[in-house]
């Protein structure tokens, strides 16, 4: 009970912090503009003449690759830089509570960004008769995937007090998780690895898991994968913050 309250206290502060700086608004505008542009121009939303949001969701992993680290980079690095970490970590709040509070705040912020893409959902409903169940699944999948990117980013942010380094590290780590599902890596792996290992590499890719979800197929394995990835990186995050205490 007390634990949940503490998570909520940290969450509330962090979530409000996004909106007291221009970062939130810059992020929202860039995210919405890019999501729109990619869907209509590169995704050929109109030319396909299909009532679904696949061209919209297809670009999410690539958008997240750069935009999620921008949200997550400040989570711990900024606290280290300004010294407020000392304040936060000497309040009667445990490290897991602080890590969760921050993570949920960032995640809630991406939920706001995703929610603001609602005009495209209205558009597709005006233009045709899409399967809204598939769209809901797509949104949920995208949201959970954003959580996985964020967990990686939050963990990278705990490594350094420099936000730029946190950003680059998070981009690089997320890129690896995306890339492991592309023909570039898989084609190369196939030439000398047994199929089992190739599948293992592919299974680490956000793309592999998200592709199924965005088509409306919610497979438990995909959800479990993303959830365990979030758990793993948040756990690493807790360990890193704790390690800095004894460094």
């Amino acid at each position: 009970m007390r634990g949940m309250r503490n998570v909520y206290v940290v969450f509330r502060r962090e979530f409000a912090a996004y909106f007291t700086t221009p970062l939130a608004y810059v992020f929202l505008v860039v995210f919405l503009a890019l999501a729109g542009a990619l869907t209509f121009y590169i995704g050929n939303f109109f030319e396909r003449e299909q009532a679904d949001l696949e061209p919209f969701f297809t670009f999410h992993p690539w958008l997240y690759l750069f935009l999620i680290p921008a949200i997550s980079m400040r989570l711990w690095a900024e606290e280290r830089k300004t010294g407020t970490a000392e304040l936060l970590l000497t309040l009667p709040i445990s490290i897991p509570e602080a890590v969760l509070g921050k993570f949920f705040a960032a995640w809630a912020f991406t939920a706001v960004a995703l929610a603001l893409t609602f005009p495209i959902w209205i558009s597709v409903n005006v233009l045709g008769r899409p399967d809204n169940g598939v769209i809901v699944a797509g949104y949920l999948g995208s949201f959970v995937m954003a959580g996985a990117f964020l967990a990686v980013g939050s963990c990278m942010s705990a490594l350094t007090k420099n936000q730029v380094i946190a950003f680059v590290l998070a981009c690089a780590a997320c890129f690896l998780f995306i890339l492991s599902g592309t023909p570039l890596v898989l084609g190369f792996a196939q030439s000398w690895l047994p199929q089992v290992l190739v599948d293992a590499v592919a299974s680490f890719s956000f793309l592999t898991h998200f592709n199924a979800i965005k088509k409306g197929v919610i497979d438990l394995r995909d959800v479990v994968f993303l959830a365990s990835l979030i758990t793993l990186f948040l756990f690493a995050n807790v360990v890193l913050v704790d390690l800095k205490k004894s460094a």
Partner: protein
Amino acid sequence: MIEVQSLTKRFGPIVAVDNVSFTVGRGEVLGFLGPNGAGKSTTMRMIAGFLTPTSGSAKVCGFDVLEQPIEVKARIGYLPEGAPLYADMTPKSFLAFVAAARGYRGDEAKRRIHAAAEETQIFTVFDRPIDTLSKGYKRRVGLAQALLHDPEVLILDEPTDGLDPNQKHEVRSLIREMAPHKTTVISTHLLDEVSAVCTRAIVIAGGRLVIDSTPEALEARSRLHNAISLKLSGLSLADARRDLATVPGVGAVDALETAEAGIALRLYAEGGRPIITEVSRFVHARGWAVEEIHVEQGQLDEVFREITTGQG
């Protein structure tokens, strides 16, 4: 209330705090002295639970910092060095966050925030972003945060750093006022602060505890302790020096910079024993015209220099 046992902290090859032990009881105000980089902040951070000791232990109100960190943190009001604050918040929202984190809600939270803001006099800037506040106000917001839950133990790392003389005076009065009901540790490199608020002084140099004593006892170590400064007129410097040196208890006699009409002298007390009675009787018997006479307390900065650098 605070028990520190052989506390040691290493950062790689550097020993920042080396086997430091002390206890502080309720009602005591412990002054932590030492040159910059001596290990004052590191020690305080370990007690506050921000750093993990390499070895040794610290207990606050009977709770071990490593085993029950949350219990310890709930009982400490801590002002970190430089008073870091969330720059994008206002003092009001910041204190609301701290109150919530300390488990207060509703009216109780409001009451506590109001009381802390009143004590530190930050109402005038309550709704301005902390970013835009002066150094003095930031420090006071930091103090308000530390006092909010009326903690049993107060740990303040350089609480008056960056304040103007009036603000310093206010903060010191505040500390003195609260001290009888709390266990207080403050670090400082302002020696007048030690005499002003502390009941005990600990000197740390090179990570080691070198002195654990009272401010008065520290002053008594000064060569100046109980020395007498004297301004006379109507006689020559050489005569006065020669005669005064014969007074029992007087050690060396130094000439200070000569005043326009008359001479200024400093008489050092042998072994720091009071000599004022003898000297005044002697001067009176000679019928010298005394313009000024006072007893020196001893200067802490001189003692401090001697202790921390090993030379006077």
